[in-house]
Symmetry: C2
């Protein structure tokens, strides 16, 4: 039965004891003062954003926050995954210190996943921790960064190698911001939405299949349901495993192959969601070769990934390079690569696999 | 009644739920394999140390760990507070990634407070958190860094501005390492030992007065008691306030003035403990001017600080510069400087004070 769709604001509560928070989802929330009610009191706030998002939404957010904080500062970072490094992170620390921000100052991350990751790690580290609020303006960030508390920067030798688990005080997903999102980035976000089907909820997968055209057309009611359900599923998984000891690893479906694509091409060449979309196809083929799912299922998911506008064939980096890159992945242990595979539709597991099997998958999935 | 002294190993248990750990205190512990029993299992360990400590103790620690980890790597940092910055921290990340260290790799901090702060923050941040063990080789680090989980690096605009609260899996205080400590650094450590008297335990203060010569002469039994009692008091305070919301601030007695001295002269000019020793004299004089303690008490504590070989007169930076530096201190709120004052011998509190009063104190305490 298809889920009922609604234009009215949605809310997902993330229950984490004294670090619990709400995700608010709706069109136009960013500019409404009420969206920010109940946040920690402070004299100052710092909005962290980037050169692409600032011209679109910075003024509106500043205006909405003006009544809550005596002074609202901002820092505008260069845009792009290639800037998710220490020197860009340090621009946030420079701004915090130059403005005399104290340990009550609230950081607002206004932008996509890169802004959220950097503002979140800055908030986790500045004076050993200040409050922060996520205002994700990409679909990927809305469904992926809203839940889980992961923050990080990249190191030349690996993606997201330096970071912290740090929970936001609130997440506000303004669906109106998705109207200005480039088509490639919308597709990248859909990769993470589609992901929740094979790993956790085939009824949601059915719904996505039925509504993929509405999602690609950015219909707010469809987007609201996709964001809400993705956050709910992720919250359910993370709630059982906040520090990523076990179950949470299934959220990395497609990410081991995907990170290798990103690192192998150079960060920023493919979008993260594009690499994950293609990585899911590879992980599905691995699952099939391990005898877990059949070819029809692999074909069905691959078709939806393609309809979402995502690549399903990986770059020809060479199997040796893929394997080398996957061995330095955070999820590997003592050099053993850990793959998230689909055990059966709607259920994932973490498994090792022989290099030979991985080479077969890569031969069939790259060109 | 003086506390009984003993040469046998001491232990302090830090109770923090699933992050509880033990501090082991004794002469020669570093080289004993038994000191490392029960630590998290891993294929690899990384010892973080510096150019001063490496020639003295690195081989012994490597030898003691050889049976526990398949491979023990090390990274030798430049020595000194001036290197407690991102570029030195990054040497640790470079080593972790170059050696393919995973999220189970255990970091060992072998050295003083700077090494502990950097290795601790690296452990907190690498792959969002790997286990770490403190092996403090200075008195200051043994009494100060063993408890509280504070890790950080400096920023050009402020000390310890970027860091994390992160608990070690164990602390091993080898008193034999204090034999090679320069006299200035021993005195600097005694500043933090003396601190616990006025803020929390005047019986301990009496004991320090009676044993200051034995401490300066580095008698192991006296040092063992001083380290153990300091850790116990700190653990008691931190246990009531792990995230530094309130009570824990009293541990910063002498630190607001002290940080201004360190920052004003340039980090590394005075040792941290020297600045804290002098800062305690200033904070005591402020307490006296606030009508909380009498001149005789100020004189008594000042005399003990001097007998420990510490400065009791601050550098003439000018009152404006002192005030400016104290306003950017992490403990200030919305530009209001918060001072730790002694309410009565053995009890501290956090208070604001007028700039005029602070200027009087500085005029009487600097030259």
């Amino acid at each position: 039965m298809p889920a009922p769709l609604s234009d009215s604001p949605q809310q997902v509560h993330i229950a984490l004891g004294d670090r619990s928070y709400d995700i608010r989802i709706g069109a136009g929330l960013l500019a409404e003062a009420a969206s920010w009610d109940g946040l920690p009191a402070a004299a100052t706030a710092l909005i962290v954003t980037n050169t692409t998002v600032a011209p679109l939404y910075l003024a509106a957010l500043r205006h909405a926050l003006a009544g809550r904080y005596r002074t609202v500062f901002d820092v505008v970072l260069p845009d792009g995954e290639q800037h998710k490094d220490w020197s860009t992170l340090n621009l946030i620390f420079d701004a915090l210190l130059a403005h005399g921000c104290d340990r009550k100052t609230v950081l607002f991350a206004l932008g996509g996943g890169v802004v959220g990751d950097m503002a979140g790690f800055a908030a986790a580290s500045y004076m050993r921790g200040v409050p922060f609020v996520q205002v994700p303006t990409t679909l990927l960030a809305q469904v992926d960064s809203s839940v889980g508390g992961k923050t990080a920067i990249n190191h030349p030798l690996g993606k997201n190698m330096i970071g912290a688990f740090y929970q936001p005080a609130r997440v506000v997903c303004d669906l109106a911001t998705l109207k200005t999102l480039p088509a490639r980035e919308l597709s990248a976000g859909l990769a993470e939405v589609i992901k929740y089907g094979p790993i956790a909820d085939m009824a949601f997968f059915d719904w996505i299949e039925a509504n993929i055209d509405a999602l690609v057309a950015r219909e707010p009611a469809a987007l609201a349901h996709a964001v809400k359900r993705s956050c709910e599923i992720k919250a359910d998984v993370v709630g059982q495993d906040e520090r990523e000891a076990g179950l949470r690893a299934i959220l990395n479906f497609g990410h081991t192959f995907g990170h290798a694509i990103e690192a192998g091409l150079g960060f920023g060449e493919w979008l993260h969601g594009e690499a994950v979309g293609c990585g899911m196809v590879m992980a599905l083929r691995l699952s099939q070769r391990l005898g877990l799912v059949d070819a029809a299922f692999v074909q069905r998911v691959t078709a939806l990934i393609a309809r979402a506008g995502l690549p399903t064939v990986g770059p020809a980096l060479g199997a040796d390079r893929y394997l080398e890159l996957m061995r330095v992945d955070k999820k590997s242990e003592a050099g053993q690569i850990r793959f998230v595979v689909i055990e059966r539709p709607g259920q994932a597991a973490v498994r090792g696999a022989s290099d030979d099997l991985v080479r077969e998958v890569l031969a069939a999935s790259t060109r």
